[in-house]
Symmetry: C2
Subunit: 152 residues, 2 copies
DNA sequence: CTGAAATGGTTGTTTATGCAACCATTTAGT
DNA sequence: ACTAAATGGTTGCATAAACAACCATTTCAG
């Protein structure tokens, strides 16, 4: 049985969306089958916190490219799972800082192994230079779409 | 104010996910502000049906890379919006064929204009060859993740 | 200082998504 | 033919996402 014969002129949007979903699904499966109760969306937030612990929800929204409401509820879930906790900012009572728990910090190495595995599965047979180009294009596209619209 | 200084070594998964979300959001905004009550996920299904009207839900799941349950509910929504309707297959009573309504068929040209617009916003400043490479990489990645479930 | 605007988070609502479990209908195995 | 397995769809459940409306707290204008 042949694949979709129309794939050749698929639009960029479809292609990016499909690849994103495929990667997210595989990553979730790999997390889950390795016994980690973490979703890839939560991982995106953790990723940010591993680089800089203690960010406001607004900052997290910015660097994950998510709406602030998504962050609110993502943090709710992560808090329930004891990965992070909220601390009010003493300087500005509107803000809350998100900090990793010990569990959240420790998870890093373990999850990284699954991420590596997933990336290897995904990137198999892709030339390094092409991968570089692909990343650059996607970063540029993201910038095009986020700087023009939501720059407070 | 500098951007995230760690961006350089952001993982491919994050980059793809962020770009996908950025594009989906922009597309939804463009659909909405042009007055169309259609989401980009529904568009993905429509896109498939415009190419080949009358597909089973399983087929649609395959070519949109979504779970069959997602398709079930996506179709529910699209049916409510009178974009498609279900017809039982007489050959095999398990299957249902999804067909475009007149409205679903007519929408094509209108939506295409918004899609074009969105793509132009997204691809601004990206060299054509690089875009080509990017698409090819993403298609390959998707194939890696959906065909060979096992690492070899 | 005081009221208005901006800012950071939360809540309500709608849509989307995947997994597991299930049902109904083929299709196979014997 | 008749049970067992595979297949296509649906439902229950939990997570995720964005928009609008809202609240509390700055910040700004006068």
């Amino acid at each position: 049985m042949k694949k979709n014969p129309h794939n050749l002129e698929e639009s960029f949007g479809s292609i990016v969306g499909r690849a994103g979903r495929a990667m997210a699904n595989r990553l979730n499966q790999n997390f889950s089958s390795a016994g980690y109760d973490v979703t890839c969306e939560q991982w995106a937030v953790l990723n940010s916190l591993w680089k800089k612990n203690g960010q406001s929800q607004k900052e997290l929204a910015g660097c994950t490219c998510k709406d602030k409401t998504s962050i609110t509820r993502l943090i709710d879930g992560m808090q329930k799972r004891k990965l992070v906790f909220r601390t009010p900012d003493r300087e500005d009572a509107r803000q809350k800082f998100i900090l990793l728990t010990g569990k959240g910090r420790t998870l890093r190495q373990k999850l990284l192994r699954q991420i590596e595995k997933t990336l290897q599965e995904a990137q198999k047979g892709v030339r390094t230079g092409d991968l570089r180009t692909c990343k650059d294009v996607l970063v540029r596209v993201t910038k095009n779409l986020t700087e023009g619209s939501r720059a407070d």
